[in-house]
Symmetry: C2
Subunit: 282 residues, 2 copies
């Protein structure tokens, strides 16, 4: 049976393991520096066995699903040992740094820089679920640097997951994702912080959450281990998006201060255009 | 059959009409200055007939579900004509202004200031749905100024809707709701505006929405007609919450600029406490 190695058994790594085991019949091996994660992943049937870096040379596929601050070092370590036929891909939310880090490695052609746009606000092996990736987009970067047979293997695997593939340069990816994904997380975290800071009465927060707060603050439940490194690694783009966001908030505040009813309506009406763009997305 | 009059046939008015008709057997009459709303509400079976202000004297219940900027004038107009036995309640998201506006009316005792904490991002009669209010909180203000028989009728009606009743002063209501509800709407609208402002490629927005953007920006689909008046009427509280929010965003941005990994983690970890508070809410 073909050997799948998943490094990092959190939400994304765990979900990939579950789905690829089921859909592709892999024997799944796990690596995670957190012993609790290994234990949980074995219990939940996410992996068949634990494995060590020196046993992965003959793996068919190695998935690197660790926080972005350690992706580069782990990927280099993996590329050092895998065979010519091994497909190695990461799933990080920032792509520029990893693409640069491995660009001169002799096994660069074994690597695919991927970002499957899927997830929930939960984390750890317990958060792993089946069918997380169906119909979702998977962004691949610098695929021209991957061996065509390895890339072909990656395509087959992503097709098994029912993912829609998009190609982008790492710079382009990091710029777009800062606005659409990373900024959403910061805005949600800070909304949560603001409400927690002012509302001493937890029952009030619970009671009033149905007014839109619960969904808007959903991402504030996300893991700091995942997100602190993402914000720092995509620093420039995230800061630019935050500057823009704060500017828009300040302008909106000014309109409220000035009783500028027309300006408020105009702003909200044009933002309503998202209804059209996001049609069909829940 | 008892006569229920609903003024303003949008999401909330329409949903109350549907549910109370079904659960309490009322004959439902509608008033809406938008002729299209009346037509749609008749088509959808939300109301049985249109009615005029001079025909509502014998109504058992009158619900005022119009935008907050016209709630006071409509409520005064209604109180001028209803009988001693009519329960009149509004459903506005700001409570201080309406409570002040009607405080000296001879029919003050017929009125209950209510805010059912329920809704979706959609608007108009087409957005009306059954079971919207079940298990949701309904905040009532200054109920000591309502006649006990009228208040008793209101309690029966809200119990039929399976709502949980909370009492609060109007000032308290407006202060809490600014943070938990109104701020969520502003943060979502401005997230939408920021992304629309930078992302010229609509396909990119659609493709990347599954990264958390879709849910965080959900409220940005809400109606400007509803929300511009709310922000203006709860001005002071909304501005205070926005100041706090912008301050938190700026501090978080500073941590990113300073590579303050520890600060970022600490901030996100403490905000994760929302997981505990919001447990069970979807």
């Amino acid at each position: 049976m073909e050997k799948l190695v998943v490094i990092g058994l959190g939400l994304i790594g765990g979900s990939l393991a579950l789905d690829l085991k089921k859909r592709n019949g892999y024997t799944v091996f796990g690596i995670d520096e957190n012993a609790e994660h290994i234990k949980k992943a074995l219990e939940l049937g996410i992996i068949d066995s634990e494995i060590d870096f020196n046993q992965i040379a003959d793996a068919s596929v190695v998935i690197i699903a660790v926080p972005v601050n350690i992706i580069s070092q782990i990927t280099l370590k993996v590329l050092d040992v895998v065979s010519d036929d091994t497909l190695v891909f990461d799933v990080g939310s920032v792509k520029n740094e990893i693409c640069k880090a491995i660009q001169n490695h002799s096994k660069r052609k074994n690597f695919v820089a991927a970002h499957p746009l899927a997830g929930t606000e939960f984390s750890g092996p317990e958060a792993a679920i089946l069918n997380l990736f169906d119909e979702k987009v998977n962004i691949l970067c610098e695929t021209d640097k991957t061996d065509w047979k390895i890339l072909d293997k990656a395509f087959s695997l992503f097709k098994k997951l029912n993912m829609r593939i998009k190609m982008m340069s790492p710079e382009e990816h990091d710029r777009h994702i800062a606005y659409v994904s990373h900024l959403s997380h910061v805005s949600s975290f800070m909304l949560g912080k603001t409400v927690l800071g002012i509302e001493k009465n937890e029952q009030h927060i619970f009671d009033m959450a149905s007014t839109g707060f619960a969904s808007t603050v959903r991402l504030a439940k996300s893991s700091a281990n995942t997100w602190a490194p993402i914000f720092l690694q995509n620093k420039e783009n995230v800061i630019r998006s935050l500057d823009e966001y704060i500017k828009n908030l300040s302008e909106f505040k000014k309109m409220i201060e000035d009783n500028n009813d027309e300006g408020l309506r105009e702003t909200m009406n044009s933002t309503n255009y998202l209804k059209t763009i996001l049609k069909g997305i829940k």
